[in-house]
């Protein structure tokens, strides 16, 4: 390799080293000397079709992938470690950022685990549970839309990308109305919700359902019967039931093998057993089957959303236990969103005890009895599990997220090896990994 790879140079900021790469001529020459066409290709971590910072290391022989490995960790942000230094309530602000396309699932799974540790599952109000389901199902749609949109774009189908993001935008507008943010909401809190639905939210969701019912068939028209789309997707990214079980793959990948395993049905949480919906499956074990499942799941999610809207009754959205419930409701003031004026008046003007209570709960947080709990929800990508451990303090002792993207991504090698390079993109897109969730 070249001799002077890092030449020093003096600047006003100190010594700067200019690092140049290896000698490419040598690399090319040695590659030319090799008698086969076997080369190793690094796809990513900055490749646009690798869903963020996923690095694929492919050994290819001509156009055939002989070995495929993933390099992950580029988006590791130490969320699990950070959680151990914040209160249980502050945790939602972190976990919502893990798989940033399924924020509400992260928040709900985390809160279910905390509530299990607290032993307050039975006290969660009806309205809070319905709104959680409502938001999760909207989130399922927005996540699937991104999957279908980016998956289409990676095949060169840009129209489906435009359609997908157009529809997702409507959902993000609903999030913004309800939580104030398009992503990273921290809206679902241990014990309930940060606050109630704002006025106009139900109307906007009803309007969205109406529009979405009109828009969903467009995906069928565009893609489902499209011969090019089918040719690219069918029999690509094959993983059968035995493979799924061994590799722990869940979600649409597992359901594309024909097994209708969905935690919403098998281990219901948030009263899912009372909703009327179907679990779509396919028996093709391939990317096309997963696409069809996602499309059908969006229709089912619309059904659930409608049922949620019909069920909503006025009521509290936080547990009644004042030792857990956040003391203040948010309200819009002249300087933006903050604690409601009534609450400020009460704690600052009339009740010293209320002020102490507010201060203690906000700065110190509530204590969670020691022990461990595992809560799992069916996220759009599969089983999202939370293992939470408390040592009796006001902070989590340990929280581990079993993110479905992380587990499912392991199946990449099994899906891609022996196939074409171009099919790697399709297979990875059908796994729908989000690196925020993979790396946490």
């Amino acid at each position: 390799m070249s001799t002077s790879q890092a030449s020093p140079r003096e600047t006003t900021e100190g010594t700067v080293y200019t690092v140049t790469g290896g000698d490419w001529d040598e690399v090319v020459q040695s590659a030319a000397k090799a008698d086969d066409e076997r080369i190793i290709v690094n796809m990513g971590p900055q490749h646009p079709s690798t869903h963020g910072v996923l690095r694929l290391i492919l050994e290819i022989d001509g156009e055939t992938v002989t070995e495929a490995r993933c390099g992950i960790g580029y988006l590791h942000t130490g969320i699990e470690k950070n959680l151990e230094y914040r209160t249980w309530t502050q945790g939602t602000t972190f976990v919502t950022r893990m798989d940033y396309l399924t924020s509400f699932f992260n928040e709900t799974a985390y809160c279910l685990a905390v509530e299990k540790l607290l032993g307050v599952e039975d006290q969660i109000t009806e309205r809070a549970k319905i709104i959680r389901v409502l938001l999760m199902e909207l989130n399922r749609m927005s996540s699937h839309l991104v999957c279908i949109a980016t998956g289409g774009m990676e095949l060169g189908a840009t129209t489906i990308m435009i359609y997908g993001f157009r529809d997702r935008e409507m959902i993000l507008d609903i999030y913004e109305l309800i939580t104030g943010l398009r992503m990273n909401h921290a809206y679902i809190r241990p014990g309930g919700l940060a606050q109630d639905l704002p006025p106009g939210a139900v109307d906007q969701i009803r309007e969205f359902v109406k529009k979405m019912k009109k828009n969903l068939p467009e995906y069928d028209k565009l893609a489902t019967g499209n011969p090019i789309f089918k040719a690219r997707m069918q029999d690509v990214g094959y993983l059968d039931l035995a493979g799924c079980m061994a590799l722990g793959a869940t979600g649409p990948i597992l359901r594309s093998t024909g097994l209708p395993h969905d935690l919403r049905k098998s281990q219901p949480y948030c009263d899912y057993e009372t909703y009327d919906f179907d679990i779509p499956t396919a028996d093709t074990c391939d990317s096309y089957g997963r696409f069809l499942i996602r499309l059908e799941e969006m229709r089912q999610s619309l059904r659930i959303v409608e049922q949620c809207l019909d069920r909503l009754q006025p009521g509290p959205v936080m547990v009644a236990d004042k030792k857990i419930a956040w003391p203040a409701q948010l309200a819009l003031g002249p300087d933006g969103l903050g604690n409601s004026l009534d609450h400020i008046k009460q704690i600052m003007g009339t009740s010293m005890e209320a002020l102490i209570h507010h201060f203690k709960l906000v700065t110190e947080g509530f204590r969670v009895p020691p022990g461990q709990a595992y809560a799992a929800v069916e996220s759009p990508k599969g089983e999202l599990g939370v293992h939470a451990v408390s040592d009796g303090g006001t902070r989590p002792y340990r929280v581990h997220f079993r993110d479905p993207s992380f587990t499912n991504l392991q199946a990449m090698a099994a899906m891609c090896e022996g196939g074409q390079v171009a099919d790697v993109i399709v297979a990875v897109a059908s796994i729908d990994p989000v690196m925020g969730g993979v790396d946490r």
Binding site: H76, E80, K81, G365, P369, Q372, Y374, G392, L409, Q410
Partner: protein
Amino acid sequence: MSDANGTNGADPEQDPGASNLPGQRGEGEEIRVQRGMFGANNGGDTSGYGGLVRSVRLPGATNRPYGGWFDEVADELEGALEEQGLLPDNAIEKTIVDRGELTFHIEREHLLRVARTLRDDPALRFELCTGVSAVHYLHDKGRELHAVYHLRSITHNRLIRLEVSAPDSDPHIPSLVPVYPTNDWHERETYDFFGIVFDGHPALTRIMMPDDWQGHPQRKDYPLGGIAVEYKGAQIPAPDQRRSYS
């Protein structure tokens, strides 16, 4: 600290586990004794809270009946192990039922056998492993590192937890990859973050942190890091330097 050695009642310095102390929280297994409050270990204690002694206890072993299908699973597992000539008492250290969840503490040398039995026995059939999580109980001497597995049976619609412990001085636990290949990345992650060495793993390398990283970041003796920041004129300490109440 002056009142900590007071004469009335039990002496927390001598006997932190005494049940008539205010810091005592019920039954269970002590993993740590917490002294003081607010995370302040040096400097004058003017609040009196510095003398607080509290034992941290995790739920302890449960006696039969465990309730529901828990007994069935425990019976089947014990029976299946006995058939293989392994005394259940040797493999299963203890069984805990807490918050509607069943946990088996398994001796690490028998983990692989137990997992294979749980997967293959038709009456058990825990075919899906959701990976491994770990917990570092820094003060639980001799069993600092715990690996926690959640096994799901789709056939019987059940979920159980396996827990295996290893001391910091010998952080070895057999790998479950031969039984559950899904644990490949999970065990790499746990090794990366906790330093638990999974014997028999096909390629136990770091997965999240860079290959040349020093230390295992999610261990309790590994600092969070971070720097103090100034906000509206005040110095806000780094997150792990702030007051804590745990």
